[in-house]
Symmetry: C2
Subunit: 512 residues, 2 copies
Amino acid sequence: MQALGLTGIARAQGVTGATPTAGRGKHVVVLGAGIAGLTAAYELEQAGFLVTLLEARDRVGGRAWTVRDGDKIEMNGEATQTARFSDGIYFNAGPARIPSFHQGLIGYAKKFGVPLEVEINSSRSAYVMGDDGRRIRMRTAVNDMRGHIAELLAKAINQGALDQSITVADRERLMPFLKSYGDLGQDMTFKGTERSGFGTAPGAGVTFAAPGSAMPIDQLLANQQLPMTLFEDNLYMQATMFEPVGGMDQIHAGFDRNLRHPAIRGAVVTRIRHTARGVSVIYRDTASGVEETVAADYMICTIPFPVLAKIDTDFSPRVKKAIAGVVYDHSNKVAFEAPRFWERDQIYGGISFVGGPTSLVWYPSAGLHSERGMLLGCYASGAKAAEFERRPIAEQIAFSRDVIERLHPGHGKDLTNGIAVNWHKVPFSLGPWPDWKAGSANGHQEGHIDTEAFRAFQLADGRVYFAGAALSQTPGWQEGGIQSAQIQVSALLRRVAAQALTEPRARTDRAA
Amino acid sequence: MQALGLTGIARAQGVTGATPTAGRGKHVVVLGAGIAGLTAAYELEQAGFLVTLLEARDRVGGRAWTVRDGDKIEMNGEATQTARFSDGIYFNAGPARIPSFHQGLIGYAKKFGVPLEVEINSSRSAYVMGDDGRRIRMRTAVNDMRGHIAELLAKAINQGALDQSITVADRERLMPFLKSYGDLGQDMTFKGTERSGFGTAPGAGVTFAAPGSAMPIDQLLANQQLPMTLFEDNLYMQATMFEPVGGMDQIHAGFDRNLRHPAIRGAVVTRIRHTARGVSVIYRDTASGVEETVAADYMICTIPFPVLAKIDTDFSPRVKKAIAGVVYDHSNKVAFEAPRFWERDQIYGGISFVGGPTSLVWYPSAGLHSERGMLLGCYASGAKAAEFERRPIAEQIAFSRDVIERLHPGHGKDLTNGIAVNWHKVPFSLGPWPDWKAGSANGHQEGHIDTEAFRAFQLADGRVYFAGAALSQTPGWQEGGIQSAQIQVSALLRRVAAQALTEPRARTDRAA
């Protein structure tokens, strides 16, 4: 199985114990209509629960926010920006791609009839640009570096330097492989490769193709973005990746239209209480200003913790402490509309890596070969994002434009209608995802999320369950939200089943 | 420019000297409505020539043959096969992908309003399968091999084995790069990488991700298809690649509907003669059986040479000898329809490499996430294709099915409606492309096509010009046909312009 690379491919396990009547008509109030809340609401309804889904915003999707022409971008401490896009162009301000092994999310998209298209996550025509502004085409960076590496290793092997490290048999197979690997000459040296592009291109008649010369290794290594040639082999970034046609939020719209009771929008939760027989939620209807109350048997809460920290709740001291202590990360995007000048440079989708506060330029996979498109001029997280977002919005946009001008000389002026999204300032989110490692003590195993607070949220607090990508091992991926929601729905199903042994007569609150 | 990988990116140069009246109403008969003939006909019309385009088949496109439900596959010496496809599924029996730098072909597609979609030419979920049937996922083959290579090179460098080959400065940059390259540990050893897939996948709560262990290098090297992990970096195979929506022949249909005089189909040429004032072509109309004659001023002939060799012509002895001596290659495809079992294995588009007479299994990029699709179970050329096509058709199909069963156990039975195309047997083609290197003498520079015959066709023979991908440096790519056609149209324009200096009064044969 390991050899097949099949072991452990992440797959949402689905909900266990669900039958159409397993919920026994119990009423669950779900807070937040992001991917986790929508998954929970859908699966609960399918399992025979009555669900009230409350969403603070006037849209579903949560961080899966697709910005379209006329949409307002409101951020704490910033003036409102209004997006201007033509021709159905859109901008995924949050998640924008789906790995092929995120079969939970892909499964729901198919179930709800949401078309998916290829998200081209890597193009050999894109660039890595060093701090000095020198650009190297991906094809050249990848293939010339591979040529040098192959040549050096072959030389070391020929010198006998690795006789203790590989068997004679392996060596005899490795040498011809290295020749293919690096496109080396018969003498096992690297003199350049057509993989890196033509020196002269082939044409009709006797217009012969000729490879270019190899870029010297020091020139390659001088480019600080050279390691980003490995980005495409990050497991989460590998072909084949997907995006929903027309915007990421099409999936969330799909969930919502398949709910018996679609999400109640504009419902800002102000108070959560346990009652004698269940839970009670007070929310303010933003349209009317009126306070409403929802009484239910159970709750699944997916509200981001910095937002939750400001809500009046009766959670346990352990949970309240956990909520108060979660630190959220920073993440920024800057988007423009432009005529597709990058396609005239034969860049179709993919990403150029530029470093600095903006990190990358990400080319659209939607609308290939059309006149105009959305160009992403910044997608960065962490400490440098925290610093960048302190700049005025206009400066963030201007900075991103300048970087694109360096990467694509002459085209900075083609960029129109720049907008910036700083997730740490977005109301009802206050960050892209938790930074669970903030302030972590020694012994924290790399890659594992496992803190006191994280564990605290995994179990119900009375009748309240917590769910969200934040409570999975992949806080930045929607699949984590699906996994978390399904786990909690399964836990609730077990609880209801156990209680049924002591309460045989089905309760009939608010018939569905 | 070299650093930018821009030098020499192949681009059809376009036609030189064309204005809407440059053709001065001269009449050109074009033989063959494949990509070269269509390009020639279109550009000639745009330049003010009158064009008669003759095509032997009842369809345009030539080798760009898109097989659909009900289409007949007739091959010399074989019983007719009838294709059966459901749901608009199609099979590109000839060219099936377009590199992003083939801007001539892409340009015509855009000009004629033919939508293009991504052709996923590489998927990390596909496989390399060795002769013993053992499969390795692409992600594992690529990333575990890279890990071993990085570890070995780092070790050699640390031992000082390459002190004479790289500078101290380069070494100091190369070591951290190698750590990224191979996803090595702090100690610069390779212990496995998440890039190759999960050992255990991340989930909700404390379901931690863990990488798998590294596949031993001997196991990787034992897989004869391991070098095919480099296929995606063949310049012609690099992301981002395209295919026309609905079949390759959509482009050729686009050409034909933009001709003032669309191709005359079912016109089988039997005789070519120079006349006192031009050329004369006799063809048999296959529908009526009647012989027709076309008299024109010039000719552009794109008929494949094995077909042309059987036509009664008055070409020069040099040209006749060249025609008679061209040897054509062999190339086979076998296609099935099936439920998309490969997508359940998370393979979306891309290619698995299996070696042997069938070479590969190529997964469709069209109709992703739909129920059924066309699966290509064979695409091989050269000597092994020549041997394979000697098998009965039923055996070719059965063999391909068996290979797919080995690659995807249990799914051989899912394959339906297998059809085989052996290009060497296809009437009016008699081969996929010339093998210009057949019988080549010493001194033939690798990669260059340059034989006596090849050169003979580049110049006009009287009033007859020859064009086709066969006469470019890339006989297997449609872009070569475009380049060749444009070069010959340009030559004809120069000739007409030169003659205009001696014949100032425009001739007015058969007004357009």
